[in-house]
């Protein structure tokens, strides 16, 4: 007997349930109503007879407003009343795979751009099925029935039924093959500022983040970690740790030695009692100076050719003017306000993980491996994330909790201190780059020769994604990008003779995606150098860029919009400067103008205003979009002025917010965000806003002082040194 038919025959249907199932070719919209009761529904939404609509969101909420945006897409096409909508965080399941990323993960600003079409279609399918159900009930043609704001109406007979009343009948229907999507003018919610559904419980102090998880019989874990990369324990006093009141067990993990105890205080005391002696590690020479020298020396080593079109070297040799500069961007931390943590419960027949994770699929994979259970017995429960920025797409913090729980036989919450979080991050990769460009007599680019000495992100993230030539395209985002996953992170410029070479570092300092991956540091280098070229060509920086963007209408339009809004070209008083930069990634175009005041005596820079223009195609929820750009600009400013990981004794020296400073309110300028009205393809909004901020500010400092900033962070010492060199 067909098992599906069995379920259909015997199970009571409790509502209309629509799922989006990932297929090797994309996705399909399915009626999952008949599955309810047999196993946990992996539905995107469910309409129940109490007239409520539950939207299950598989993406991680970290402040970008994703629960609201995805629910808006469903509600709009479904013609639901927003008051009916409830939003719930879904557990890990293949049916929440992001169609762009092919796994369940919240990265690459991919949630709205990945689910814009599928969720609209899922909503439209539900609406069509409810209309059919109403037409069948009233025995009238479907064309005479209209769905509006949570009810289906038959105008001629003045009858109406709510979605709650129709859902059981609709649940027995097939998903229509042809779906009619709304025109923009018909949108009820999309494009209008909808209050975020997660904000009230966050304001109340009731939102549950990973660190707030509490499960019955839960123990606490703390991990002793080495100072130096690659260091192994020489000795430790397990008995002393076990003698601490409340300590249950001591267990090694891939990252150190975990102490599991009845309270966090006891776990920390037990960890201190271990008195671990570590060896010197694999690279005891690592220090801040060593690291910086290493990346500069990379530029003198032979690299691998990432792209070569035409003959850049010849074009530059024959050019009437040659311009060259070298830039350096250091390692920086994610520094999410919520330190890393996870709670795991490994049992004989099931495994549960409660984690503030951006990567449900990878968390499920590691939990399956450690527990020895198949993925369907591993339940990943995503909490709110106290910041993500890419850090939480890594599974390291989940692994420790799983190992600790397996050893203790109880649920264990492993909590990282801020110091552990700072010292054991997988950082935004450091990079040192040299660009040589030839200009012809009219100041046009004839050839572009670009050498990038950097850390490989993929070496730590997934070495299988390197190109067969051994190029790490993730470390080149903003210059070049892979065909899949679609990240739209190739430079917006076109160069007649273009050569890019990559030298990858062999240092053990781990790197991972950091808000825009490497788009931000690479945009800093390219956009500052564009400013240098414009000056060398004797042209205005906007005018200089436009011919290189001849085939990129969106980039040109965004740049011109910000120039107009910011009053580009108007003279500035002495000591003040205005700079501009533009960049595109994840399908979104952002340009920014920064106004700065520079104190030439002490080298301090104050940013007075940043104006941004953004084209992300169709806008789903405009207010969180503006908030993302505002926040990204503030974070960008933090990286320009404050942030740099310091190294010593073979590992990380920076430890906490007293020696790794972040931007505060007093350094935050006025920010204006202008959305470019656009009907082009939809792009992401979480990351692109951070990319033009650093170069716009550095270019403004040049405009104010004539000093060229070619390294970050732009401390007063760096500014004073640049002024001396001008």
């Amino acid at each position: 007997m067909n098992p599906t038919l069995t379920r259909r025959s015997f199970l009571k249907i409790t509502g209309l349930t629509i799922a989006i199932s990932a297929t090797p070719f994309g996705y399909e919209i399915i009626n999952a109503s008949d599955q309810k009761g047999s196993f946990k529904p992996n539905a995107w939404f469910e309409i129940t007879p109490d007239n409520k609509i539950m939207v299950n969101v598989g993406a991680s909420e970290m402040g970008q407003g994703i629960r609201t945006a995805l629910a808006m897409l469903v509600a709009d096409e479904l013609e639901a009343d927003w008051k009916q909508i409830r939003v719930r965080q879904a557990d890990a399941h293949n049916d929440y795979f992001n169609p762009v990323m092919h796994v369940q993960v919240t990265v690459a600003s991919a949630s709205v751009r990945g689910f814009y079409d599928p969720l609209r279609k899922a909503g439209a399918a539900g609406r069509a099925m409810l209309v059919t159900a109403a037409a069948q009930t009233w025995k009238v043609p479907e064309g005479e029935c209209t769905a509006s704001n949570g009810t289906v109406k038959h105008k001629k007979s003045n009858r109406s039924l709510t979605y709650g009343q129709l859902c059981l009948k609709a649940a027995k229907l097939e998903v229509p093959k042809e779906l009619r999507l709304k025109n923009e003018s018909e949108f009820r919610y999309v494009g209008k500022p909808m209050p975020r559904v997660d904000i009230p419980e966050k304001v109340a102090g009731k939102a549950i983040f990973g660190l707030d998880v509490r499960v019955p019989e839960m123990l606490y874990g703390a991990v002793a970690r080495p100072q130096a990369y690659g260091a192994k324990p020489v000795s430790f006093d397990q008995k002393a740790a076990e003698a601490v009141k409340g300590v249950r067990t001591v267990v090694p993990t891939p990252h150190g030695i975990a102490v599991v105890a009845e309270s966090l205080d006891a776990a920390w005391k037990g960890r201190d009692a271990l008195k671990v002696q570590w060896d010197k590690g694999s690279h005891p020479d690592i220090s801040s100076d060593f690291v910086e020298k290493h990346y500069f020396e990379g530029l003198d080593k032979p690299g691998k050719v990432a792209i070569s079109t035409g003959d850049a070297k010849k074009a530059i040799d024959e050019a009437s003017k040659k311009v060259e500069a070298t830039y350096f961007v250091p390692f920086i931390a994610h520094a999410t306000m919520e330190p890393m943590n996870a709670t795991a419960s490994v049992q004989n027949d099931r495994c549960d993980v409660w984690a503030p994770t951006q990567g449900q699929t990878v968390a499920q994979m590691v939990a399956s491996k450690i527990s020895g259970l198949p993925p369907e017995k591993v339940h990943i429960h995503t909490t709110y994330l106290g910041g993500g920025f890419g850090r939480r797409s890594e599974p390291d913090f989940v692994i420790d909790a799983l190992i600790a729980s397996k050893a203790a036989g109880k649920p264990v919450k492993v909590v990282w201190t801020r110091e552990e979080d700072m010292k054991h991050d997988a950082y935004r990769a450091a990079t040192c780059q040299r660009i040589q460009v030839g200009l012809d007599s009219q100041g046009r680019v004839t050839g572009w020769n670009h050498k990038v000495s950097c850390t490989s992100i993929l070496r730590f993230l997934n070495p299988d994604w390197m190109t067969k030539e051994g190029i790490d395209l993730f470390s080149l985002f903003g210059i070049l990008d892979p065909p899949d996953p679609k990240v739209y992170s190739r430079t917006t410029y076109e160069f007649p003779n273009w050569y890019v070479e990559q030298v990858l570092s062999d240092l053990p300092i781990p790197a991972s995606p950091w808000r825009s991956v490497q788009n931000a540091p690479n945009a800093f280098v390219v956009e500052c150098f564009m400013d240098e070229l414009a000056r060398a060509a004797g042209k205005d920086p906007v005018e200089f860029r436009l011919p290189l963007l001849a085939n990129n209408m969106r980039a040109r339009r965004t740049l011109q919009t910000v120039a107009e809004k910011a009053g580009w070209g108007k003279p500035m008083p002495k000591g003040k400067g205005r700079g501009i930069a533009q960049h595109a990634c994840f399908g979104t175009y952002v340009a920014q103008v920064a106004d700065v005041s520079v104190n030439e005596a002490n080298g301090t820079v104050k940013v007075d205003r940043v104006v941004a223009a953004v084209d992300c195609g169709p806008v789903v929820n405009p207010d969180p979009l503006i908030a993302q750009i505002e926040g990204a600009i503030v974070m960008g400013l933090s990286t320009i002025f404050k942030e740099k990981i310091e190294f010593a004794n073979g590992g990380v020296k920076s430890a906490n917010f007293d020696d790794y400073k972040l931007i505060r309110m007093s350094d935050t300028p006025e920010i204006e965000v202008h959305i470019v009205k656009s009907t082009e393809a939809i792009g992401g909004i979480g990351e692109p806003g951070v990319t033009p901020t650093a170069p716009a500010v550095a270019n403004a400092v040049f405009a104010a002082t004539g000093a060229r900033i070619r390294r970050l962070p732009m401390t007063p010492e760096v500014v004073l040194a640049a002024m001396k060199n001008k």
Binding site: A204, M337, E338, V634, L662, I671
Partner: protein, 156 residues
């Protein structure tokens, strides 16, 4: 050791050593997890609570030092409090992890000065860190809360 704590108007007996930071007693013993751990050294303000009405970092104050004092956490700020209302109206929050501490800092500022000038705002708010960069919205939220207070909102 048994200690009696007055939190959000209620007395709680807790059995902890006197040197335990107040933060962990609130979170793990009293299950008031709205107060957040982030730096543990009083640098970021995510753990801010009120002690006798004054904004205080609960991560660096020992529970033994707050016996007999009035402790207020984010959960003790009423829903109708102008800061909570303003934070929703201005959609200040992003990830929201730092915001309980930020809101407690603002509530203390506004109870001291009902209409603080920009210097006073920055003077108080530079004690807290928001990694999402909501500072422009925090400024807006403070202005909104001050307006709501003028219209007769209580500050709790």
């Amino acid at each position: 050791m048994k200690i009696s704590l007055n939190v959000n108007g209620k007395n709680y007996p807790v059995d902890v050593s006197e040197d335990t930071p107040l933060l962990w007693v609130l979170r793990d013993n009293l299950k008031l997890t709205g107060t957040k751990y982030s730096c543990g050294i009083g640098e970021c303000g995510a753990c801010t609570v009120h002690i006798n009405g004054k904004a205080t970092r609960s991560c660096t104050i020992a529970v033994g030092d707050v016996k007999g004092k009035k402790i207020t956490t984010i959960e003790g700020l009423p829903e109708s409090h102008p800061v909570k209302r303003a934070w929703i109206e201005e959609q200040v929050v992003q990830c929201g992890y730092c915001q309980p501490g930020v809101m407690m800092q603002v509530a203390a500022l506004l109870s001291e000065s009902r209409n603080p000038n920009p210097e006073k705002v920055i003077g108080a708010m530079d004690d807290v860190i928001c990694r999402c960069g909501t500072y422009p919205r925090i400024k807006k939220g403070i202005r909104k809360a001050a307006q709501l207070m003028k219209k007769g909102g209580k500050i709790g």
